[in-house]
Amino acid sequence: MAELVYDKDGRLIYTKEMNDEGYKILVPMMMPVHFGILMDAFRHEGYNVELLDTDGPDIAQTGLKYVHNDTCYPALLVIGQLINALESGKYDLNKTALMITQTGGGCRASNYIHLLRKGLKKAGLEQIPVISLNLSGLEKNPGFKISLRLIRRVIAGLVYGDVLMTLRNQTKPYEVNKGESEKLVLKWQTGLAKDFNEGKSYRFKEMEGILDKMCSEFAQIERTNEKKIRVGVVGEIYVKYARLGNNDLEQFLFDQGCEICLPGVMGFAAFKIDNRIEDIKLYGGSTAKRKVCEFLLNYVSKTEDLMIAATSKYGFQPPSKYAHTKSLIDGVIGFGSKMGEGWLLTAEMLELAETGFENIVCTQPFGCLPNHINGKGMVRKIKEINPKANIVAIDYDPGAPRVNQENRIKLMLAVAREELENRYKDKSAPANSKQTVAK
């Protein structure tokens, strides 16, 4: 066990010595494909990271025990997963650290790391250092540094993750030979992880070739041309993506015979960078900071071009460009609404409806503050703009029973199914309208 060193505010820091001793850094799960690839980017930088793939009701129970029960569900789950892992006996508690993201925005999520520390204290695990993963310079640790090289690799990892997710979502529901898409995802995930571990595949040129090959392989999956209900999923980032947070919504929708579209995480990254630019535009601020952000946004925009080029070349529906998504909310909600998923959530719903995914599940933790505004608060406006939009807002919470959630989603799907039938079937015989009235 390395010496425990604290900063002037009494925060336990992650020291170089800890890293040199090979401390295991546990990372909570959110997006299996993306994170799976990313872990190797960190390993290549010399961090002994481990992505937790634990599951089951114990995680929420642990969260409830150590976190204020009215805190958002993602906090309960993330903290629950980490402490649950520490309590599992699988790790040497004198040689383990935790890592968690911190956004620094006006939403509760910026406080997860502090809630985690409070939880650790309650659980008697105060010797475990917690590393904040952020780009705002919030908490610094000598044993963990984010280099520009690492940022580039993280971006590349997210791009690959987004494209793999997009491709899989478009092939899996239609595949003739069941399981091909998942197999291909796994193959690429493993391959890319290996590349990352060796410090390869993150440069633009490499990405271009890899994405092209990736799309071409997915294009070879034999598919039917059934007409399926197309459902978009948006929401608070954790419950939108994490199986643990949304009771495996993806699988549920897939079992209900839907094609799913989850807007990618790169849009969220662009949004977070863009917020800083918008803040300066709205309230004033440093030009230098604005320039840096514009440079970063431009870099992200270029990766978007790569994704769009590769996917469209092989006939897939490409992810939207951030700039386009943003343009959709002009006159709907201000660009200053930046906390949580902010206006991006509204924009994604409009974009989904525009691209044929009018049926939307808007997911949020119970009591999610920004979603009162950007999610539930905008549904009416979205319907005004696109009357076909068929949106259901679902709250996730440790106490919210799955059966109620599924029942509401099924209502949305029933309406969607009818719309689909009306569109594609013989218009004279849609289901149930043939019945004559006998009363």
Partner: protein
């Protein structure tokens, strides 16, 4: 032929339609959670009765039907969708359908853009809610409707959910409100909840149809809807069966009776539910447990054999009334434990009558009463003392274990816990609305399944896999049961699971303990709910400690009151003041309901009159209706703030009128914007201070039912401004607040920051006025004028930058002046309190908690205890910036931490935190404020407030706090 099954949360319906959709057969039954059994029975019956049904097409619907449909391979039709299909077929031309079921409320808009809506998770419980309320009123469900017919007045009852409503009804009952009035008020609450939660800005108009059980059976409920919607809705023939009709109409596969009956009878569910270890491994373990707990007893003596002084203790609780007669040495002579039945007065009357019967020559030395019904019982029967529950329970617990370290009491409605240090209460934990009613929920739930609570609890003892049912609130637990059943949990597992949920609620939500070391080794548990062995065991298991449960667990409040009465009794020959046998004979109790009307709170008072003309007034927030005098407001900053804000009057201006909604952050930015726009030559008007009426004006346009009440009120303020004829409204978005240099950042919370966006997109009327919702940054005073000018010239091209600069300068000055004034006045109150040796309560919250409709007169109520009331911003500038355990990034919340830090340094100050229900940020601040206070041995008191707030519960908190600090 088509057969449709509707499996709801409480009932099963089955219909058979012929080729022409004519109804051949229908049946309706409660299933008492024995769903599969009932389906089997029902199908067998249909099969025998209807010829040709063997070849019918079949489909299934209903909220509890999903699992069964999967198991039997039948088509499942979502129930709201089914309703729609049926309505299109049987009642064409319908515009809106309102359907209330056992647990869900639905609204379907069929014309002009089809929309179907169901209540959100947090607004669950409609039919089941009315069921529960009937239990609470102690009337059969069937009589609720007739009862409601005879109403004279209505009360406002929280319509957020069943748990909140219950907390409101309880004190009404204890004040002596008429049951008829309450029944009618319950219906109104259901209407409000449905309309506010589901209309979401869409007008309910045209041909309105009412469906589902509650609306079919209760004419008064339909009437209440008619009145609110200003329409006359119809309740068609067979209104119970529309979901089943829909299922039948969508039926697509031929029924195979044998197979279905076989499959449902073998239904096991996936077995895939989260569960806990069994409560007891075996019978022997249970026996030794029972033996261990039978030891904590009191000495019981037959009252006939006792000759000496007696002390009476009574506990008029929320669901039960308890009374004991105690002897000189603490011996229990006589006791009663009875259901509250909605009015404690006749119960206590009976108790006393019986007592005088049993022991005519009884020598009553002293008496005391505690519980929700304390005031009315004390007045009705001239009881010597009234004491707060916490004190009663603590006194009793200490008599069992003098060195007790932790006491936890779970009653029907409330959970009360306290930590004891050096023989005094050191910390108090009381549940807030969401976790209330856990104890009585077990009872109601057992009854709904057709069990007595004892039998139901015994089942739990033997459950092999107690289900995890969550612990958020009883409404959620109720729904979780549905899920568990779908997954194949047995009734034993559910009973055990519910007991665990109650315990987890107490531990993790109320006490916030994560391990036994936080409670201490010497724990006494009490309250009626702990009589349930499953609950007791669950507690011991979860915390890993053995605790003491007195055998008189349920009577502890009353026993504590008796002990208290004894401790206060004078040594002389003076007798108790309690009503004598003779006077009891002439006991009369009359109730009248009136509106106080002496201030803006306009409390609905229940005036109880007793035989000798004595009066007791309930429902008041302050002493004014009793003393007829103005309460002393000089020691209450909340009143002062309100007056100060009211002093910002409109000044005529050449640029016309601009309106400002008086809510959320405007509660402290009004001085800023008032001055700003007045300088720019606008006549600045504000919407009136909130009222219930104002809220209702806007409630149809609220899109998110779980947002906080202060935000919901904004809809009403907008409507009020529009009704005032204002043509320009200023309500800006503000990510940031002013930086007071107390924290790491200075954000507003997302709701305060962006609520204008919700208003703009959900209130149609707003589009007829100039609505200015631009993003402004007053946190950067240097950039502000230029940025603001750019925003304003979009609407008022003639405004110059120079004008804006000048206005801004004045606005910042005005803002500072306002704060200086508030702090100066706060300081005066503090100084005066110091001189008069008065306790000072720092009632902390947000600026908008000054709104009387939001704080419900709590500041007045606290002030009525003779303490001074200041707000967090009066003291937050008195400490240096310091590091807290969380990211300190919101301006309002930084003040809370600073205030807590300051209070910690003073002996004469206590902090009470107001928290609005649904405030996500406060999940973080409450823990941190508590930490700061507890570090210096202060007691943390939280008061959760919402649309309606039961002041009875708040009073208990404040009294407990004052009692604990020795006042």
């Amino acid at each position: 032929m088509r057969l449709g099954l509707d499996i709801g949360s409480t009932t099963i319906k089955c219909v058979v339609l012929d080729e022409n959709n004519k109804l051949l057969y229908s049946t309706y039954e409660r299933h008492y959670s024995r769903i599969t059994e009932k389906i089997g029975e029902m199908l067998a019956r249909v099969r025998g009765k209807i010829k040709g049904v063997e070849n019918a097409l079949v489909a299934l619907s209903g909220s509890a039907g999903m699992g069964v449909a999967e198991q039997c391979g039948l088509s499942f039709v979502q129930e709201v969708y089914a309703t729609r299909v049926a309505a299109n077929t049987f009642i064409p031309g319908t515009d809106v359908i309102i359907e209330l079921g056992g647990e869900d409320a639905k609204i379907l808009f069929l014309s002009g853009g089809m929309e179907v809506r169901m209540n959100g998770t947090c607004a669950g419980g409609t039919g089941a809610f009315i069921d529960q309320m009937a239990t609470l009123l102690n009337v059969p469900l069937e009589e609720m409707n007739d009862l409601a017919k005879g109403y004279e007045k209505t009360y406002t009852i929280a319509s957020r959910c069943g748990v909140f409503a219950k907390t409101d009804i309880q004190p009404l009952l204890n004040q002596g409100a008429r049951k008829a009035d309450i029944a009618q008020s319950i219906f109104r609450a259901v209407v409000n909840q449905t309309v506010a939660g589901l209309a979401q800005g869409r007008e309910i108009e045209g041909k309105v149809v009412y469906l589902g059980g509650p609306l079919t059976f209760m004419g008064e409920l339909r009437k209440a809807f008619d009145e609110e919607l200003k329409t006359t809705g119809i309740c068609p023939e067979n209104s119970l069966y529309y979901v089943a009709f829909g299922a039948a109409l969508c039926a697509d596969s031929t029924i195979d009776f044998d197979e279905i009956i076989n499959k449902v009878s073998n239904y096991t569910g996936s077995g895939n539910f989260a569960f806990n270890p069994p409560l007891f491994k075996n019978e022997a373990e249970y026996e030794s447990f029972k033996e261990r707990h039978s030891r904590a007893t009191v000495n019981e003596v037959d009252i006939h054999d006792y000759n000496g002084k007696c002390y009476i203790g009574m506990d008029a609780g929320s669901t039960t009334v308890k009374a004991v007669v105690m002897g000189e040495n603490g011996e229990l002579l006589y006791s009663k434990y009875l259901p509250n039945s909605g009015n404690p007065v006749p119960i206590i009357k009976n108790f006393l009558e019986e007592l005088y019967e049993v022991k005519p020559d009884i020598d009553i030395k002293s008496s005391a009463v505690t519980g929700y019904g304390e005031d009315i019982i004390k007045n009705a029967f001239c009881v010597d003392y009234g004491i707060v529950e916490t004190v009663a329970h603590f006194t009793a617990a200490r008599s069992f274990m003098p060195d007790v370290e932790f006491v936890i009491d779970i009653g029907g409605q409330d959970i009360k816990c306290f930590k004891v240090h050096n023989g005094a209460i050191d910390n108090i934990f009381l549940n807030e609305a969401c976790s209330s009613g856990c104890g009585s929920f077990l009872q109601t739930f057992a009854n709904a399944l057709g069990y007595s609570i004892q039998d139901f609890a015994t089942l739990g003892i033997y459950g092999k896999h107690p289900v995890d049912l969550g612990s958020r609130c009883t409404v959620f637990m109720n729904s979780s049961v549905k899920q568990a059943q779908k997954d194949g949990a047995t009734i034993e597992d559910i009973s055990g699971g519910l007991s665990l949920s109650v315990v987890k609620n107490a531990l993790y939500k109320v006490i916030r303990a994560s391990g036994p070391e936080e409670l201490g080794k010497k724990v006494v548990v009490q309250g009626g709910t702990f009589l349930n062995d499953a609950v007791l065991r669950a507690f011991e298991q979860e915390m890993g400690v053995d605790v003491v449960r007195p055998t008189i667990s349920g009577l502890m409040g009353a026993y504590g009151a008796a002990l208290y009465a004894k401790s206060r009794a004078k040594n002389s020959d003076e007798k108790s003041t309690i009503i004598t046998k003779d006077r009891l004979k002439d006991f009369v109790h009359k109730i009248k309901v009136v509106n106080c009307g002496m201030c803006s709170n306009n409390c609905r008072l229940t005036v109880n009159t007793f035989a000798d003309g004595r009066k007791f007034i309930g429902g008041n927030r302050c002493e004014r209706p009793i003393t007829k005098k103005n309460p002393d407001e000089s020691m209450n900053i909340y009143e002062y703030k309100l007056k100060k804000l009211a002093s910002y009057k409109p000044v005529e201006g050449s640029r016309g009128t601009i309106g400002i909604p008086m809510g959320l952050n405007m509660y402290e930015l009004l001085p800023f914007w008032h001055r700003f726009f007045t300088e720019l030559k606008f006549k600045v008007v504000r919407s009136p201070f909130s009222s219930r009426k104002l809220y209702q004006k806007g409630q149809q346009t609220i899109p998110s039912d779980t947002v906080c009440f202060p935000a919901k009120l904004m809809h009403g303020h907008m409507k009020a401004l529009i009704d005032m004829g204002v043509d320009k409204i200023f309500y800006p978005c503000m990510s940031y607040n002013l930086n007071e240099n107390l924290g790491d950042n200075h954000y507003n919370c997302p709701v305060v920051a962006y609520y204008p966006e919700v208003i703009y997109n959900n209130m149609r009327d707003i589009r007829n006025v100039t609505f200015i919702k631009d993003y402004v940054g007053i946190h950067r005073p240097k950039d502000f004028p230029k940025k603001m000018h750019t925003a304003l010239i979009k609407y008022f091209p003639d405004i110059t930058l120079k004008e804006v600069k000048n206005a801004a300068k004045n606005a910042y000055e005005e803002y500072n002046r306002y704060f200086e004034d508030i702090r100066r006045h706060g300081n005066e109150i503090i100084t005066k309190a110091e001189l008069e040796n008065k306790e000072i309560i720092v009632l902390s919250g947000r600026p908008y908690h000054v709104d009387p409709e939001i704080n419900h007169g709590i500041s007045k109520m606290i002030a009525s205890f003779g303490v001074a009331v200041v707000s967090e911003d009066c003291v937050s500038d008195r400490v240096e910036k310091f590091k807290v355990g969380v990211l300190n990034q919101w301006t309002y919340h930084s003040r809370l931490y600073a205030a807590a830090r300051y209070v910690s340094t003073r002996k004469d100050m206590e902090l009470v935190q107001l928290v609005s229900f649904g405030c996500g940020v406060d999940a973080i601040t409450t823990d941190e404020v508590r930490d700061i206070l507890e570090q210096s041995g202060k007691i943390y008191t939280q008061v959760k407030i919402d649309e309606i707030t039961n002041l009875g519960a708040v009073k208990i908190r404040i009294r407990s706090l004052l009692a604990a600090i020795g006042r």
